[in-house]
Symmetry: C2
Subunit: 219 residues, 2 copies
């Protein structure tokens, strides 16, 4: 198909398609004339994957490029693919003082120890977790840091489902893709499920509180 | 304190502080001279909160402004505050066909039904979840959609911890702040915990797979 048809099939504008080709996220089409190239269904699939990572996963073009290169290399084990997602995405960093960061690093080390999680020294997820804990402490929310054991238990259940999905894939390339898609779109899916569960639980628990407060004249 | 001292105490540049005041995220200081204003510890705390939401939570200035206005109104119940976080953040949207979206809407309605979650018709989290499911189906990952019940169970455990943290706060303003901070920084915290749990589990489960594959000559 020509670029106009690829654009219709994928919902991505021709200028954006050309940009992805230039940036190396999408393979070039097969040149048929001086200004014309032929694209295949594989290009449609790849465009859908790029849009899902960027639009839904909120991944930068740079990180998407790195993830797709890992996928295309075809030599990643599923375990390495999961690791690659982690390292390509890096983590959100904040500027906190050295003192807060040290206390937070101890919080995180103690948590990993309690759970028996063995984690590489240069894990970006560990750095992100330390930064979040430092920010929470700085904001006076040590209570959220103290609740991390509960959150870690739920996260282990989630990760067990993640790994089961990856292990179920019959071929290596699909395992790698599942690791990438499941982790990145999964973050958005899990954040949405958390909001829905909050809405469900708060409509029962917190409404009861509000009613009790009104009855006692406290609010 | 003067703006230079506020900048040192918060780690935020004076130009950025002035920008936050102009945008209405930070109250003005008390004017002492024509070009001079006096700031308080409350300004330091507010700046820390803004930076945490933006740097760690990845929240836009526009959404941060809306959340802080909700916090300052002082009239939100904790339940409304949780809802407000949800609505102010909106959701990530992707362009998927009508057909995929309808199938995904049915997936989500069936899930909510199975779990007995009662959710408002205009919930942005529900729209986000539908979009993610539509994208997953389009990418050929119906297996991830089918695993949503497992993810929903873990999300309910997470939300129960969220609500307990909010209910523990003694005063209404702190409840609202906990709802905002816990939800937004919590998303980043939970994504990091998920990566760490993946690393822990994959080092045992997937390594065993790789070894078995090598032994059988499949990889």
């Amino acid at each position: 198909m020509r670029i106009a048809e690829l654009s219709r099939a994928s919902g991505v504008a021709p200028a954006t398609i050309k940009y992805y080709v230039r940036e190396g996220l999408l393979p070039s089409g097969v040149r048929t004339h001086r200004n014309q190239a032929e694209y295949s269904d594989a290009h449609v699939s790849r465009l859908r994957l790029i849009r899902a990572l960027v639009d839904i996963g909120g991944v930068s073009i740079e990180a998407a490029k790195e993830l797709l290169a890992a996928l295309d290399s075809g030599s990643l084990s599923a375990r390495d693919a999961l690791g690659h997602v982690q390292y390509a995405l890096g983590g959100r960093r904040s500027q906190v003082g050295e003192e807060q960061r040290e206390a937070a690093a101890e919080d995180v080390a103690a948590l990993l120890d309690r759970r028996g999680w063995r984690i590489d020294d240069d894990s970006p997820a560990r750095d992100t977790l330390i930064d979040v804990c430092a920010a929470l402490r700085l904001l006076g929310h040590g209570d959220v840091v103290a609740a991390m054991d509960d959150y870690a238990g739920a996260s282990e259940a989630i990760a067990a489902t993640d790994i089961a999905l990856v292990r179920n894939e019959p071929v290596l390339e699909r395992m790698t893709e599942t690791a990438i898609v499941g982790t990145i779109l999964g973050d958005t899916l899990l954040a949405a499920l958390r909001r829905l569960a909050q809405e469900h639980l708060s409509s029962t628990l917190l409404s009861a509180d509000d009613a009790a407060d009104r009855a006692s004249g406290e609010v």
